[in-house]
Symmetry: C2
Subunit: 432 residues, 2 copies
């Protein structure tokens, strides 16, 4: 028995070392590409938002940018347009595979989307870079079907973990996003290796994550709300948080529905597919011009002008309008639904943080805390990943509010229906 045991431990160590060696090159490349992507994104956003150089005219080129993206995907992209859903499908049932070119395509078209003022995020891009690179390595390694699934999950983890600087969230997200209602651990070791190494590599390239700016937000959350509450006050607060969770769940649901609907209606109504991004872009430009604010385009982490609405402003009283969450939600749904590229998650952070800001006023609750709760809650609802979002709350804002994070993420998840932004997600278990 003891010889068997030693043999067994030896076998497990060998397996661990094998996966470590398989994953590290992938994580290094994904982490590096994400560093490059984040740098480009910063440059593009900085160029457009440069107030002294007056580059805001660039958004008039958004329709052309859209045509360029749709044309290049159609002409050279192969099935890259499948995006996150293709990766999820390939993990469930390996088929034709994720094309390697998905990585450069999504990287540059996301940067173009942001440069010209589309409203989008980053995580979709990072996940697709991760999936595409992992698939290519899987082919070089000649992996069988089972191991290909594991390596794709690891690629997703590396992408997500390194783009937000939240490695544990990245690993959990990659496992949790596959199906609604459960999380399977079979790939947790490779996923953890991938996201931790990927994150190290991105940091090593000198990229200061948005994360680092969020740490300051976290400090503000603590400053504004650093009191030992008596437990009956906590009970009341949890009641308010559950109510807010219902609203966040609904916002997440609405975002997914609207994005699908925009895509469906535009492609049905418009015969010429190049008109789809043009119409989307004109809508975005029109909203900017009519509303007179640039706050709802781009990545939204910081504001175009002092006093504008952005993710960090939402952590202060008065830092968001009552309609801010809906504006960002619609602008992003139109941008992504009409064929532009980028992620959904950072806009979901924006929607959640601003909605949290507004709800804090309605419910007489701490603003910074409710902005943080919205930040993770709407994301949880739209992607059906409550565990990853709870962990993200801890990674970004600290453990002090773990209870509130868990309550809001699971309530929002519960109220978001059995759909989400990823149509390839399987439904594994009902939500209650």
């Amino acid at each position: 028995m003891y010889i068997d045991l030693i043999k067994h431990i030896g076998y497990q160590i060998k397996l661990l070392v094998k996966w470590f060696l398989l994953i590290v090159p992938i994580a290094v490349i994904v982490g590096s590409l994400n560093a490059f992507f984040l740098w480009l994104l910063e440059e593009a956003t900085g160029y457009r938002m440069s107030t002294y150089a007056h580059h805001s005219w660039i958004i008039y080129l958004l329709p052309l940018a859209g045509i360029l993206i749709v044309w290049s995907y159609k002409k050279y992209g192969k099935n890259s347009a499948g995006g996150n859903n293709l990766i999820i499908d390939e993990i469930h049932e390996p088929g034709g595979g994720v094309p390697t070119r998905m990585a450069p395509f999504v990287l540059f078209s996301t940067v173009i989307t942001h440069l010209f003022g589309g409203s989008a995020g980053r995580e979709g891009t990072a996940v697709q870079i991760g999936g595409a690179i992992a698939q290519q390595f899987g082919k070089w390694y000649k992996l069988d079907e089972k191991d290909t699934k594991l390596i794709l999950i690891s690629g997703v983890a590396a992408g997500f973990g390194s783009v937000f600087g939240t490695p544990i969230t990245g690993a959990i997200f990659a496992l949790e996003v596959l199906a609604i209602g459960k999380i399977k651990y079979h790939a947790v070791i490779p996923a953890l290796i991938a996201s931790v190494v990927g994150n190290f590599v991105t940091i090593a390239w000198g990229i200061s994550h948005e994360h680092l700016r969020l740490v300051n937000i976290a400090k503000e959350v603590n400053v504004q709300f650093n009191e030992d509450l008596h437990y009956d006050h906590i009970a009341l607060l949890i009641g308010k948080i559950a109510l807010a969770g219902i609203a966040f769940g609904f916002a997440g649901f609405l975002f997914g529905e609207l994005t699908h609907k925009v895509k469906e209606v535009l492609t049905k109504v418009l015969k010429n597919q190049y008109l789809v991004p043009v119409v989307g872009a004109i809508f975005v430009i029109a909203v900017v011009k009519i509303s007179g604010t640039y706050d709802y385009i781009g990545i939204g982490t910081s504001s175009y002008l002092p006093g504008g609405v952005c993710i960090s402003s939402a952590f202060h009283a008065g830092g968001a309008k009552a309609y801010s969450w809906l504006m960002k939600l619609v602008m992003t749904a139109v941008t992504l639904g009409s064929g532009f590229k980028g992620g959904e998650v950072t806009p979901l952070f924006f929607v959640g943080a601003t909605l949290g800001n507004t709800l804090a006023g309605v419910l007489n609750a701490p603003v910074a805390l409710f902005a943080a709760l919205g930040f993770i809650g709407v994301f949880s609802a739209a992607t059906n990943t409550p565990m990853a979002c709870t962990i993200m709350g801890v990674e970004l804002f600290g453990s002090q509010y773990l209870l509130y994070f868990a309550v809001v993420c699971f309530v929002a998840y519960y109220f978001s229906g059995h759909t989400g932004i990823y149509t390839s997600q399987r439904v594994s278990a009902p939500k209650l």
Copy 2:
């Protein structure tokens, strides 16, 4: 569509309110019983360990206490002896149900075990109180099979969450312990309500959780290791943590195997079942007398004499002997394997923290951090609940070390084999 949506949200709110109303009475009773249990446990431990009154002779009565426990379970306990495994079985496939008397039986027999110096813990007791009370309410509510499963899971969550003062860990543990390799969310909302309310109730009874003492340990972890490490140092540290994780995984595996083996051998060799606890008790007394220390009996959170080994001492350099973890492991396996009652988790904390202390010396790593890692890592390995243990790390020691907690819990889990202390756990997915 919108009317359907409003109807749907209305239905979901109704469902939420229904479960809230169903769960609250259970959580109140479980939280109250756990408060009573923790108070009795404190009294019993205090009586035995009272140094000025010299009550340590009481351990000579341990064989009699064992006979009393075995006799009363046999005569009046019905199938209460099934314990945690019975509850897990009933959640997988509802059958005869968990008998209500399991609650008082396990409560008093655990207190007796501790009073007379057995080496045991608390979580099994709390979980069984939770399961038994929940089952009784389920019968009163006339729940169907599906809802009975949910309410049993909620009872487990209430028990675990309130006994350790870690509500999120309680809810996750209740979902995660059912099967190895996955976590299903179908019961997460009732489980969260149960553990949060249960924990509030226990606190409201004025019980200061062991947790509160651990907060001080957490501060020490931070004080000893509060430096911004450069990322290549972090990489080295993570390597050390992974190595320690292998050791923790092995310790968790060994604990489960030994407990099962002791039970199997003693019941096979001894024809008279009352001899089983007598032999176990004599072994425990003999070890105490030969080793000359009372450090390895009882709950182990604090030491009998200044300078002794206990959970909190393990967080300081020199606070554990190289063999401490093995002593506690053997003493607990013999105590529980020979028919005494109590949980496994607090002894697993002891085994892990002392092993972490020793490994910190071997690996030239921070002592308090490695004690904390062992604390959660051995528990993760023995119960196959890496997510709950990662969360527990955060709930007890803060978010700063989330990365290390996740690595150690999942590595230890990976190296503990496809068995554990709960034989009724199903294997859902291979570990890699």
